[in-house]
């Protein structure tokens, strides 16, 4: 071991931001060719750590070594020159440019377009990731966009490839292809730093795992030898609270969606195609799917942000297609969009104003157009109290809250308005485990009280945990809903990939 230094050695690295220590004396090593997992909850400090390795952030103290030599990249360019490449969670791609241009931007001295295009085709085929260099990136699927990022990295012959939550946008089948590629790279001697909180994936892929909690390394393990539960508890630092649920009988149809089609709202949006389903009282319908397959558009169609053609949406027999969001709220149809800041909530407004934003109609917070500020404050305080939102008070701006607390506020705001139909998109995205459990419990309680709930999520574990029925969105089409109990991962994969229609016909 002494003869060969590790590829990357991180030694007591610390990085503090005002009010929070993101990394506290973090140390670990990565060997050449190793697939190394960095495991931790949101806010554990994973992103800060990799940003330091990639030169986007500089540590306050501590040192890094690459191949035994001091390594302190001042910018990503320097990191790339040293053989470190990174695939971002939110792709750093340029929609209006084509694949080759995007890749050229990530290279120091790109060859002329034609040569580069040939190399892209060559590398993409060698690693089983086919890609057309002249297509506009905005038109690609999430999986294809990730390929652009990966190929951009591979063209630099990296010694260390950092991947930040790469599977959150992939179908199980696409995950399999990705893992093959990563294994091939690892066999060729490229080390991979793999960031995730999906434990099964890590067990399947990684050689070693470093677990972070609140900025500190709390353990190192060999994932294959650990149970997922043991790693989860290491990550969370305690035992997990599992939401309780009772299966209950479903009532009458509340919401009927009948052959709903809508054009894409923008050039890079998704059109909804022939969506039909029934939603019953007390039912939780889980809708899975890779991001960008029509989730936002479906929520907008039900919330009333986008109006629908006559006869495509009805609640208890009444056509609601032409009604806007306020009228639909009057009918107890509520929604909580995915994007917390800027869609579900106005970042610079106080929690009182944010409570007023969707609560005006049902909570009776106005009288002849004039705002009853005292009532709005009372409503905001009720949300904060009922949902344990951690904030100094309702006068604070929405953006001052952490992701989890704001999400509790946003979901709580709708739940407290006694919906008959509630649609939530990604209710626990970027939320810490305990807040996520609270939110899931609130959704289960709501359904137990007779409300019909649609949960749109990319987290399949979450959907399997709380849904009665499961359907999948693929390119704007919704598969037929099937009971969630007993669905296998293969079946779900097929549904996500759009093969469910044929499959269902044979069952």
């Amino acid at each position: 071991m002494l003869t060969q230094p590790p590829l990357l050695r991180i030694d007591t690295v610390t990085k503090a931001y005002p009010g929070v220590v993101a990394n506290d004396s973090v140390s670990f090593e990565i060997q050449p060719g190793e697939v190394h997992a960095l495991l931790g909850e949101n806010g554990a400090g994973k992103s800060t750590l990799v940003k330091m390795i990639y030169g986007l952030v500089r540590p306050d103290s501590g040192t890094m070594e690459l191949n035994g030599a001091p390594f302190a990249p001042v910018e990503p360019r320097a990191a790339r020159a040293s053989g470190v490449a990174m695939v971002f969670q939110h792709f750093s791609l340029f929609d209006a440019l084509n694949v080759a241009e995007n890749i050229a931007l990530g290279m120091e001295n790109p060859p002329p377009q034609r040569t580069l295009a040939a190399r892209i085709t060559e590398v993409s085929e060698a690693y089983g990731l086919p890609l057309d260099p002249f297509r506009t990136v905005g038109d690609l699927s999430a999986g294809e966009r990730q390929r652009v990022e990966i190929i951009r990295c591979l063209l630099q012959d990296p010694k260390l490839l950092i991947m930040d939550e790469p599977t959150s946008v992939l179908t199980p089948q696409e995950v399999e292809i990705l893992f093959k590629t990563l294994n091939k790279l690892s066999d060729e001697g490229t080390a991979i730093l793999y960031i995730s909180h999906k434990l099964e994936e890590i067990r399947a892929l990684c050689d070693t795992a470093t677990v972070l909690r609140l900025g500190k390394v709390v353990g190192t393990c060999t994932p294959r030898d650990e149970t997922a539960r043991a790693m989860a508890e290491m990550m969370v630092g305690g035992t997990l609270h599992q939401p309780s649920r009772d299966r209950h009988p479903q009532g009458d149809v509340v919401l009927r969606v009948n052959d709903l089609s809508q054009p894409a709202p923008s050039a890079f949006g998704t059109a909804l195609k022939n969506i039909s389903f029934d939603l019953h009282q007390g039912e939780i319908l889980g809708i899975g799917g890779v991001a960008g397959n029509g989730q936002d558009e479906l929520l907008a169609a039900i919330s009333g942000e986008v109006l629908s053609p006559k006869g495509t949406l009805s609640v208890q027999g009444d056509d609601i297609g032409p009604l806007g969001p306020t009228a639909r709220r009057g009918l107890a149809i509520l929604a909580a969009p995915e994007e917390r800041l800027g869609h579900a909530a106005a970042p610079d407004m106080s929690l009182i104003e944010n409570a007023l934003m969707t609560g005006a109609t049902r909570e009776n917070l106005t009288s002849r157009g004039f705002i009853k500020w005292n009532d709005a404050r009372t409503f905001a305080e009720k949300i904060i109290k009922t949902f344990d939102v951690r904030t100094p008070g309702p006068d604070n701006a929405a953006r001052a809250l952490s992701g989890g607390n704001l999400q509790k506020f946003v979901v709580g705001r709708e739940v407290l308005q006694r919906p008959d139909v509630l649609v939530v998109n990604q209710p626990t995205w970027g939320v810490d485990a305990s807040a996520a459990a609270d939110i899931r419990q609130a959704i289960l309680d709501l359904a137990a009280g007779g409300a019909a709930v649609i949960v749109i999520s990319q987290d399949l574990d979450e959907l399997m945990e709380i849904s009665d029925n499961f359907a999948a969105l693929n390119e704007g089409r919704l598969s037929p809903a099937r009971p969630a109990l007993g669905l296998t991962i293969d079946e779900i994969g097929l549904m996500l990939g759009g093969g469910a229609a044929q499959e269902a016909a044979h069952v």
Binding site: P337, G342, A346, E353, M357, F370, N396, A400
Partner: protein
């Protein structure tokens, strides 16, 4: 080096302090500008900011002028501020102001020389409609064709100025004026005159309307759902849509209010202080009101103070022109500088400045 750190909540203290800081910085920069022009800087500042109000020699004339000039600025700026808060950039108030004056004056002049009490109120209404209709052009082009309202409203100012020239030399020219451009004098025709309500105060109907509008705007923004929706739409358009705000209706409403108020300002000006439709009766109030709106932090009370301050620079500027031979344009540059400094120090409201220790 320093870096900026976003505050969790915008600083209330700084949002009040920044306009004052901006005025102070502008005075310093202004003093430098005046001394470069070879004028005694302190004397120039005193002539602009203090003499119009306190000088025994000029005060009697200047003090009423303060309201006369602040009135239209406040009226227009209130209208603009609603749109700016909603992210709707109507910067063609100058055109709406001109069209309001033309419409109102034309409606009145059609009845000349009839004497009746209802003529002036009728002109006020038509003037308001004139400005409103002119503002509807960019508004409707925006909602129906998604055309940029900034460019359209601004280009329409040039069109309105041409119409003004055509009117002053054509249709509305005073038939008894010996062929000179310009309409009959509306302030000398009893039925159409915008009288001074309290003698020697400068308080005419336009000023009264401006102050009533300020109160309405204050209530609208602080207590009414429409005001809330305006602010929501400006801060987060998607959240506003989710909350049920109809963005197109909001564009029409905000542009309509701004246009109507600018039209009113034009009508009151042409029936009072200016007196007639002439090729240059408009004195750029529609543009200066943009500065007033920002300097007043888009807040009704702030706009009143900013309007008075800006009126002071106009009057003081004229005085300095007379007394010190300061070029008229230096006041325009001075006003532009004020807006720059305000925008520059505004950063303190939303960000904290952090000094970085040493080289990292």
């Amino acid at each position: 080096m320093f870096s900026l750190e976003k505050r969790k909540t915008p600083s209330k203290a700084w949002s009040l302090a920044t306009p004052i800081l901006a005025v102070a910085l502008t005075m310093i920069a202004g003093a430098i500008m005046f001394s470069l022009l070879g004028k005694p800087p302190l004397e120039a500042l005193r002539t602009i900011f203090i003499d119009p109000i306190f000088s025994e020699q000029f005060g009697a004339y200047s003090r009423p002028q303060l309201l006369v000039k602040a009135g239209p600025l406040i009226l227009i700026a209130i209208g603009l501020s609603l749109g700016f808060r909603a992210g709707i950039w109507n910067i063609g108030a100058e055109g709406q102001y001109i069209m309001g004056a033309i419409f109102g004056a034309a409606a009145g002049l059609a009845l000349y020389p009839l004497e009746a009490w209802w003529i002036f109120p009728m002109m006020v209404i038509v003037g308001c409609l004139g400005g409103l209709l002119w503002a509807m052009i960019p508004a409707i082009l925006r909602t129906h064709f998604n055309t940029n309202e900034i460019l359209v409203s601004l280009l329409l100012v040039y069109v309105a100025e041409e119409i003004l020239k055509a009117m002053a030399t054509g249709a509305l020219r005073n038939p008894d004026g010996g062929g000179f451009p310009g309409s009959r004098n509306l302030s000398k025709w009893v039925s159409s005159q915008n009288t001074e309500i309290i003698a020697n105060s400068g308080m005419h109907w336009g000023v009264v309307t401006a102050f009533i509008t300020v109160i309405f705007a204050y209530v609208l923004l602080s207590r009414h759902m429409l005001g809330f929706h305006i602010q929501l739409a400006g801060q987060s358009p998607r959240a506003a849509k989710f909350a049920g705000v109809n963005p197109k209706a909001l564009v029409i409403t905000c542009m309509g209010i701004a246009g109507g108020l600018a039209g009113l300002a034009g009508l009151f000006e042409v029936t009072g202080p200016a007196g007639q439709i002439s090729t240059d009766f408009n004195s750029g109030y529609g543009f200066t009101a943009i500065i007033v709106a920002f300097l007043g932090r888009l807040h009704p009370v702030g706009i009143v103070l900013a309007g008075l301050l800006m009126a002071l620079t106009y009057i003081g500027g004229e005085l300095a022109q007379l007394m010190l031979g300061l070029p008229a344009a230096s006041i325009q540059a001075f006003q532009g500088m004020l807006l720059f400094f305000l925008l520059a120090v505004d950063v303190l409201t939303n960000y904290r400045i952090r000094m970085n220790k040493g080289a990292k």
